[in-house]
Symmetry: C2
Subunit: 502 residues, 2 copies
């Protein structure tokens, strides 16, 4: 028993370390690596992935796990060890369902598909991507067969990103959300405010943006000896270790607030990563987030619930105004607050506002489901995409680049990922709602950029659990219920109706 | 045969990739890593080293190598494969001489010793380091027994850094150098010039230093898509891949030209790494430098032979003067040339000028040899150090921090390393001498900061060989002879006597 347990912890430590090394290879590639290093970098990443995967699905590890999950043995373990062993059993059991040949085939297919997608997107030519996507959809269907979770085949895809989430639960949530989001959007579009709103043109220089972002993360209590903010084309966050988290932003985008909001977003991810359990659960499968949705809830919490609130800007708008006096001199706080919350149906998901964002996700979920269900063919996608855009957002992209080709997810094989963005956004609203009930002072604290209590609350109720529970159980524990779209819709109405005089 | 050969290349590829990953872990730790990441980083580095070492000394690899080195088999291989197989056999044979327990003991000892050395140096307290160094010396003596090269035991230490170098050869070189360096230094110290020379106080701001260094490396033909220059406490160069080389400098030191000269030095290393064979020998043991001395020859070539030459400053001094007009307005080129070549016996090796640098190395070589020969005890070191400083440089450090504790090498177990600095310096002079005979235009080219021919010459005569030959054979091939201190001494006399009016 002792021997098996020691082996388990030894391998988990190695796997965690491989994970950290993989993250560094990835982070460096996206931040500082000279461009010509790319080929060797992919060799480096492949080697680490392969070694990691080999260990994870090895007979030796599996035999030790099986010894420990024998009920007679399991009951004699300490609670902490039981949690680790059961978690590990579940993870390995799943990984072992996938034949190594399939892993390789998927990897080769997505390598080619990603390049094809880039070309297709650049040249606005869906046909260049279409055959690759067909193959990916076929492979993903086979994947669903291997995993074989009960219910809808798509459940097996969802489960990789959001354990325990099902088509049934999502359909319930989205069928509640969809008509209501469309309704709120309709009312806003009919309002006088909407028809008067202008796209504000502003240009903030990179150096001052950077200083503001560093002030922001300082206020957010990001510890500078455990995390760093750099620059990359697309912002992201990654953990190299429990005490070494890297996140990025980009000061060169057209949207004047892109860097500020992406920093808020990624810093939310970073705070979560820094708060994961690292004492008894260090170097185990537990020291991680239970789902992508819960990770996203932390970024959306800071970006939306805090960063797009009126109180937040009570503190930060004067700072911003002082930094960019020329551009902001004549804009008052209320106008600014309206500006950062403007609703604007747009083609591109990642540029979407808080209200329409969910519609972009529902569109993708419906398409993914129809693909897995054989209700549509890949070649139909551009048409289907545009119809759904018309239906949900009332606009139709002029090109596939601005439509069906905009996201990289499918090209790398990620089908079932998009819903986690919506789940995260909904969880964020629920968590904030709960926090504000427990501590009504939270609004004043935000108004003073005093985030100490907020961060402690998140650490205590979300971060510290790691993967001891599923995301849904964590949320249930804090809020008394799982995914709840009603709170999200109320929040949107309470925020946007007054804003647009509806 | 085919199977064994394939296995060899597969393992070499893995080992090369591990090497690149290890370099990235190290580079990141010294440049961007948040301080608290250090503990996890050491776990990451340990894992990669362990996996790499395990593969390297594995029975499986050794059996394949032995199959291929059977003369009947070896002769049937292509020349390229023969070179790889023989090189690999030699490397593995050596590594397999060291018992794994010893590797671990040395690693643990040096981890503690490095920390102790830091404390000892900070507190100017040799006694804190002394017991650790005693253990390291004992371990290194055991190491010599394991390796067991012919001749002096110290040969087995030297060989790790400078294959084929021996105590005999070094004694010959240094016994020629030592009295001559002392003699030249004596004449300089007696000169009028020396007694009038002043320590120039200048302060160059970091941003402008940085711009100059980036101009410098552009002129040196460092390709920006394959290399990058960053900042670290101590400058260094490392290869993450054949097409991804990183080097660093430091703009914050007191010495106004520290960043400039260290950039020249490290860029020399970087150009060598970028020039290593990467077509047929990619991902093999051949795609590396044959010795530390030869690597150092490339850095010293750029730093000393080019960067401290009159012609170099014909181009760069006007640029420097334009950048730092206030500080340099009243200083003419000739005064500046004297300034960058001033001789000044100093306590610290890494601050030493071109002339006295060799004496610092000879001092360390004599001490290391005496330690291995049991002619002195570790506890005698501070006294011995100071005596030798008096004898060689005519000055005595007031503290051990400025004396015997200044270098980290011994604390990490590196005994036998220092001579490579002298070897590199001597080789650099020989190479430049040869180049100037083959292409007398080189001086004009340097005066125009046109380094195209110089780099091609180095690529062709040094870089491209990798480890196909030893360092000495590479130098012999180019210059017609191995290590030759006479050329170095002539060079010093030709340069310094006119400079000091001797």
């Amino acid at each position: 028993m002792k021997k098996s347990l020691d082996f388990l912890y030894k391998i988990q430590k190695e796997l965690s370390i491989f994970g950290g090394i993989g993250s560094l290879l990835d982070w460096d590639q996206k931040t500082y690596m000279p461009t010509q290093g790319a080929i060797e970098r992919s060799d480096q990443i492949s080697l680490i992935s392969r070694l990691s995967h080999e260990r994870f699905i090895s007979e030796e590890l599996w035999n030790h796990v099986r010894k420990l999950t024998d009920p007679d043995v399991l009951n004699k373990l300490e609670e902490k060890d039981q949690i680790v062993v059961k978690r590990l059993e579940k993870d390995i059991e799943k990984a072992r369902k996938i034949p190594p040949d399939f892993v390789e085939e998927l990897s080769k297919t997505t390598s080619l598909a990603y390049v094809a997608w880039q070309g297709a997107r650049e040249n606005n030519n869906f046909d260049r991507f279409s055959p690759h996507l067909e193959k990916i959809v076929e492979l993903r269907k086979r994947y669903c067969e291997y995993i074989g979770l009960p219910g809808h085949p798509y459940n097996s895809l969802l489960d990789d990103f959001e354990e325990g989430m099902t088509v049934e639960k999502l359909k319930q949530a989205f069928s509640y959300l969809k008509p209501r989001l469309v309704e709120i959007l309709g009312k806003i579009k009919d309002s006088e405010c909407f028809n008067k709103q202008r796209d504000v043109k502003m240009n903030f220089d990179a150096e001052n943006q950077k200083q503001l972002c560093f002030l922001l993360i300082k206020k957010m209590l990001i510890p500078s000896d455990k995390a760093r903010l750099d620059v990359s084309t697309h912002p992201f966050t990654t953990s190299i270790g429990n005490d070494d988290v890297r996140f990025t932003t980009n000061y060169g985008r057209k949207q004047p607030l892109f860097a500020f909001f992406s920093t808020l977003h990624e810093a939310g991810h970073a705070l979560y990563s820094l708060g994961l359990p690292k004492d008894e659960y260090k170097y185990t499968v537990i020291s991680d987030a239970p789902s992508f949705g819960l990770h996203e809830s932390q970024s959306r919490f800071w970006e939306n619930m805090i960063g797009r609130s009126r109180n937040f800007w009570k503190y930060f708008y004067p700072v911003l105004q002082k930094t960019f006096t020329r551009q902001l001199r004549s804009i008052d706080l209320e106008t600014w607050y309206f500006y950062v919350n403007q609703v604007n149906p747009s083609f591109i998901r990642i540029e979407a506002d808080e209200l329409t964002y969910g519609l972009h996700i529902i569109l993708r979920f419906e398409i993914e489901l129809a693909l897995i269900d054989n209700n549509i063919k890949v070649s139909d996608l551009p048409g289907v995409w545009n119809e759904k855009m018309k239906e949900l957002l009332g606009i139709v992209p002029k090109t596939d680049t601005e439509g069906v080709l905009q996201d990289m997810h499918w090209s790398v094989g990620d089908i079932g990922y998009f819903p986690t963005y919506a789940i995260g956004t909904i969880y964020a609203t629920q968590l904030f709602h709960q926090l504000s009930q427990e501590n009504p002072e939270v609004y004043n604290e935000i108004g003073q950029a005093n985030f100490t209590n907020i961060l402690s609350w998140l650490r205590e109720h979300v971060h510290k659990h790691g993967r001891v529970m599923t995301a849904e159980d964590i949320v249930k524990n804090v809020c008394g219920e799982g995914l709840n779209s009603r709170i999200f819709i109320s929040f949107l109405k309470d925020k946007y109706y007054p804003l647009y005089g509806v």
